[in-house]
Amino acid sequence: MGAVLPMKLAAFVLMGASLISGCSNDTDNLQQLRQVLRPGSVAPDPRVQALIDGRAPRMQVSFEKTDLVGVVALESARGGIETWLSVDGGTLILQGGMVVGTRGFGGGMMTSDVTQSLAAVHAGQAGQVVRFHSFLTGNDETRTRSYKCEIKDLGDRPATLLGALTPARQMSETCRSLDQTFVNSYWVGAERGQIIQSRQWLGDFLGSVNLRDIPQDAF
C-alpha cells in the first residue's frame, strides 16, 4: 500500500484541478485558475495598455501588507471622482486625492463619504471630523462603518516623488471606530494645493496603501 499512496495523492491533486480545468468556450475558469496560482504571470489588462500608450496620468502604488508595488493610470473621471486602473485590472477610486473605493484587490471598500476629511485636509485645518466607509464582506453583505477622526497639521514636510523632494505640507488623520484604528497621512503640494503623496487605509483585508504622484514630465 505504501508505494501506492503517492500515486493516489497525485491523482487527487489532478482531480481537484480537473474540476475546474479543461478547455471550453463558455467559462474562463482555466484563465482564472492561472491567475490565482501564478499572480503576475498574466498579460496586462488591455485597458491599461491603452492608457499607457495614451500617456494618461499615473501614480506609484505600494501595498504595505503584501509588499506589492506598481503603477496605476487614470482611466476615467466623472463628477470629481477618479478611477485609477492597475495592470491586473484592480482600481483605486479617488476623490480629491482621498481613496473612496477599491475594486478587484479584494477587501471590498465599495463607497465612502470623506467630505469632511477632504475639506479639512485641503484647508490645512486641524480638528475633528467624521468619515464613513462601506465594505462588502466575505459573505457578500454590505457593512457601513463610521469613524471619528482627528486631523493634525504636521507642518511643512516635503514629499518624495520619483526620488525628488517636492515642497509640501503634511497632514495626518487618526481614525477610530469601535474596533478599528488607522492613521492616514497626506502631503499637500505647495504648488497647486493637491494631495501629491499619501498613505491611506483601505480596510482590514488590504491594510494601508502608499500613493505617490508621478510628475507628468517624467513620462
Partner: protein
C-alpha cells in the same frame, strides 16, 4: 489511506483562509477535551474537519454548527481487525448531535446535553450531560455524567431510575440494519462521571488532561486495547490558518495524533472578490461624442450594438437580444461568468450607460439561460450616474429599480446570429465517493467531453461522454443483495462494464407557459442509469421565498455498458416539490412522490445556505419500503456540501464544487437525476437571490 482520505477531504473542501478563533476539538471531532465532550459549541455556522489516529483506530469527523446552540457531526471510523473475531476490519459511520442548554455566564458554567452515535450500529453510542466553566480566560474545567459508552468506568446505577425504572437497564445493541434512531437506549443503563481541564498556555498552545469514563469495552475484548488507566493527556498547537495539530497520550497505553481544520463559510478568500474592476461610468458627454453615437441613426444603432456586444463579451456576458424603443433599450443577456447575478446586472448596466446614445433613459435587461428568460431588471440611466459613488448607492439603486418577471420573446432581427449556439467542454474529470461501508474513498479519474447545442431559445441538445482512466469504483466485491429492483445498488456493475461512457444525451425544451411559470420537457439518456422522458412544471413567483413544482417521468434502466441499450426494468416516477428559502440562511426542500424502485414517500432536505453561496445540508428519504427490505442503513440519507469556486479562488465563476456523502447507496428512496431541474436552473437569477447579493451591483 484512511488518514489520507481525511486530509484530501480537508484539502478539497477548504484550501483557504476562513480562519476563526481557535476552538478545541476532541478525538471525536467535536468541541471537547480528548475523548470526553465539553459543553462548548463552535461559532455559529462554522465547519470543522478532524482526522485522528491511534493504535488500531482512526476517526474522521465533520462537525457543523447548524444553529448557535446545536452542532451535528458525521464520523467515519476504522478499527483494525475488529470484526469477525479479528478477521476483518471495521468501517463504522456514526452521527452525533449536541445541544447547549445554557451559555456560559460570569458566574455559571455552560451546560450541554448530547448524543454520540445516536443511530447507526451503535459502536460509539453514548449520551452525556456536561458543564464547562472558564477561569481567568485560560483555564477551562469540565465535568459531566455519561451513559452508554460514556458510562463505563466506576459506573453506578442510573439516577434517572428514580424517575422510571425503565432507565435502569440499557437494551443491548441494535445489530440490525442500523441507521435507525436507537431512542430506546438513550440515557439508559449505568452512568459514570468524567472530568477534565484545558489550559491555554498562550494563543497557540493548549494542554489538556481528562479522566475518561470510557473503558473501551468492545475494543478490549476484540482487539485487546487496554484502557486500564483512566487518564488521557494532550497538547495542541494551532496555526494561523485554522489548522491545528494535537498529540495525545491515551489511557496509559498508546499515543495519538490529530489534525483538525476549522473554517467559517462566511469568509470567502477575498471579501468582495478579486475580479478585474468594471470600467467606471464615463461622463455622459463623452458617451454622446463616441463615434458610434454620431448622427445617421440606422447605421449608428448597429454600430452601438456591435460595441456593446464586444464590451459585454469582455465581461463574460453574451448579448442575445438588442432593441431600442424610444427612451428604452431592451437587451437580453446570458451571464456566463458571475456567480452573483447582481454583479452581472451591475456590469451590464454600466456597459449600456457607457455605450448607448443619451436618448436612451431606461435599460431593461432580461437575463436568459440557454434562451430561457428568467428575470428582467429595469434601471434608469440617471440613477446610475447619481448613485455610482454614493455611500449607500447600491441599495438606493435597488430601491429605484424594478425586478420583473417579463415573459417576452426575443426581438426579431437585430441579433439573429445569437442562436443556434454551441458550447463545449473537453478535459479531465474526477469524481469521488466518500465513506461507503467498505472503503473510505472511491474515485474515478478520466477524460470527458460535454457539449450543449441551443438550436433556438429554449431548445437544447446536450450530451456528455467520459472515458475513465483510473477507477476504484468497481473494486467492490459486494454483490447487491437488495430485494428491491436494483435501481442504484448495481452501481459497481456500471463501473465494471463500461469503457467509454455515454453519461447523458438529451433533448430538452424549456419555456415559459405564463408569468411566474417555468416548464421543461426532456427526453433521451437522462442520466447514467436511466433513460426516458421527463416533464416538469415550476411555479416560482418573483421575489418569493416559496416555489412549488411537479415532475413526471417514464424511464427505463440502461445497460451496464452505459451506451445505447436498455434493460427490462421500467418505471413511472415523479414528485411534487416544495421549495422554501427560510429566513436566516436556511433552505428547505420537500419532495413527495414515487421513487425509482416504485416506492412511495417523501424526501426532506435542509440546507444552511450562506449568502455567498456556500451550502451545507442534510437530506433523508422515508418511503413505504421497510427497514428490512431497504437493507443496511434502513433508509436513504446523507449530507451534502456545495462551495462556489469563487469562494476558493476569489474570482467569479459559475462553477460550483459539489459533494454528497451518503453512508450507503441502496435502492429505496432513489430519485431520478434529470439534468437542469428548473428550480436550481433558475434560482440564482431570480429576485430573491439577486436581492441578497445586490451589494455586488457596483462591484
Amino acid at each position: 489511506m484512511r488518514f489520507i482520505a481525511s486530509f484530501i477531504f480537508i484539502g478539497l473542501l477548504l484550501t483557504v483562509p476562513g480562519t476563526v478563533r481557535a476552538q478545541s476539538l476532541s478525538t471525536y471531532g467535536t468541541p471537547g477535551l480528548i475523548d470526553m465532550p465539553t459543553a462548548e459549541v463552535m461559532p455559529d455556522g462554522n465547519l470543522a474537519v478532524t482526522g485522528f489516529v491511534m493504535q488500531d483506530t482512526n476517526r474522521n469527523t465533520i462537525t457543523f454548527q447548524m444553529l448557535p446552540r446545536v452542532y451535528g457531526s458525521f464520523r467515519y471510523s476504522y478499527i483494525k481487525d475488529f470484526n469477525a473475531g479479528g478477521a476483518e476490519s471495521r468501517y463504522d459511520r456514526s452521527f452525533d448531535i449536541h445541544y447547549q442548554i445554557r451559555h456560559e455566564s460570569r458566574r455559571g458554567p455552560a451546560w450541554a446535553i448530547g448524543l454520540r452515535d445516536f443511530g447507526g450500529t451503535g459502536l460509539y453510542s453514548g449520551e452525556y450531560l456536561v458543564a464547562t466553566k472558564t477561569f481567568a480566560d485560560r483555564l477551562k474545567i469540565t465535568a459531566g455524567m455519561g451513559w452508554g459508552r460514556l458510562g463505563q468506568r466506576n459506573s453506578f446505577s442510573n439516577p434517572l431510575g428514580l424517575l422510571d425504572s425503565r432507565f435502569d437497564t440499557r437494551p443491548t445493541g441494535t445489530l440490525g440494519p442500523g441507521g435507525q434512531f436507537s431512542a430506546n437506549q438513550w440515557f439508559r443503563g449505568p452512568a459514570a462521571v468524567f472530568a477534565g481541564l484545558q489550559y491555554n498556555a498562550n494563543n497557540r498552545l493548549s494542554l489538556m488532561a481528562e479522566y475518561s469514563s470510557d473503558t473501551y469495552p468492545r475494543e478490549t475484548t476484540t482487539i485487546g486495547f487496554d484502557a486500564g488507566s483512566p487518564i488521557n493527556l494532550g497538547a495542541r498547537y494551532r496555526f494561523n490558518n485554522g489548522l491545528s495539530l494535537t498529540g495525545y497520550y491515551m489511557y496509559g497505553a498508546t499515543l495519538g495524533l490529530q489534525v483538525s481544520y476549522m473554517l467559517d463559510p462566511r469568509k470567502a478568500r477575498a471579501p468582495g472578490g478579486q475580479d478585474a474592476a468594471a470600467p467606471a461610468l464615463t461622463a455622459a458627454q463623452h458617451v454622446a461624442a463616441a463615434s458610434w453615437n454620431l448622427p445617421d441613426q440606422v447605421a449608428a444603432e448597429a454600430a452601438a450594438q456591435e460595441v456593446l456586444r464586444h464590451r459585454l463579451e469582455q465581461q463574460g456576458q453574451r448579448l442575445v437580444g438588442f432593441q431600442i424603443q424610444g427612451i428604452q433599450a431592451r437587451v437580453d443577456v446570458e451571464n456566463n461568468r458571475f456567480n452573483a447575478t447582481a454583479q452581472a446586472i451591475g456590469r451590464i448596466a454600466r456597459a449600456l450607460a457607457n455605450t448607448l446614445p443619451l436618448s436612451v433613459e431606461v435599460f431593461s435587461i432580461t437575463l436568459r439561460r440557454q434562451g430561457l428568460p428568467i428575470t428582467t431588471v429595469k434601471i434608469r440611466r440617471a440613477d446610475l450616474y447619481e448613485l455610482e459613488t454614493e455611500l449607500d448607492g447600491a441599495w438606493r439603486t435597488l430601491a429605484r429599480s424594478q425586478l420583473l418577471d417579463e415573459v417576452r420573446a426575443l426581438p426579431q432581427g437585430a441579433m439573429q446570429e445569437a442562436y443556434p449556439h454551441l458550447t463545449y467542454h473537453l478535459g479531465p474529470y474526477g469524481r469521488l465517493s466518500f465513506f461507503d461501508p467498505d472503503n473510505p474513498l472511491r474515485y474515478e479519474l478520466g477524460v470527458g467531453a460535454s457539449a450543449s447545442y441551443v438550436a433556438r431559445p429554449g431548445l437544447t441538445f446536450l450530451g456528455m461522454i467520459r472515458h475513465p482512466l483510473s477507477s476504484t469504483l468497481s473494486d467492490t466485491t459486494r454483490v447487491s443483495d437488495s430485494v428491491l429492483p436494483h435501481v442504484r445498488s448495481d452501481w459497481a456493475e456500471y463501473a465494471r462494464h463500461s469503457d467509454v461512457q455515454l453519461n447523458t444525451l438529451t433533448a430538452q425544451y424549456l419555456w415559459r407557459p405564463g408569468k411566474d411559470l417555468f416548464a421543461r420537457v426532456s427526453a433521451g439518456y437522462l442520466e447514467e442509469m436511466f433513460g426516458g422522458v421527463s416533464a416538469e412544471l415550476l411555479w416560482y413567483p418573483t421575489d418569493s421565498r416559496f416555489a412549488v413544482g411537479a415532475e413526471i417521468n417514464y424511464v427505463k434502466q440502461r445497460d451496464f455498458d452505459m451506451l445505447f441499450g436498455f434493460q427490462d426494468y421500467d418505471v413511472v416516477t415523479g414528485h411534487a416539490s416544495m421549495y422554501y428559502n427560510m429566513p436566516g440562511d436556511y433552505h428547505l426542500q420537500i419532495d413527495a412522490g414515487r421513487y425509482l424502485a416504485g416506492d412511495i414517500g417523501v424526501t426532506f432536505g435542509l440546507d444552511r445556505e450562506f449568502n455567498n453561496g456556500f451550502k451545507v445540508g442534510a437530506f433523508a428519504t422515508l418511503t413505504n419500503v421497510s427497514a428490512t427490505d431497504f437493507g443496511e442503513g434502513s433508509f436513504d440519507k446523507g449530507i451534502r456540501f456545495e462551495v462556489p469556486l469563487s469562494w476558493i479562488t476569489g474570482k467569479s465563476s459559475k462553477t460550483r464544487l459539489r459533494q454528497v456523502i451518503r453512508p450507503i447507496l441502496r435502492d429505496g428512496g432513489a430519485r431520478l437525476s434529470v439534468p437542469n431541474r428548473l428550480y436550481n436552473y433558475t434560482r440564482e437569477a431570480r429576485a430573491d437571490r439577486i436581492f441578497g447579493q445586490w451589494g455586488r451591483f457596483y462591484r
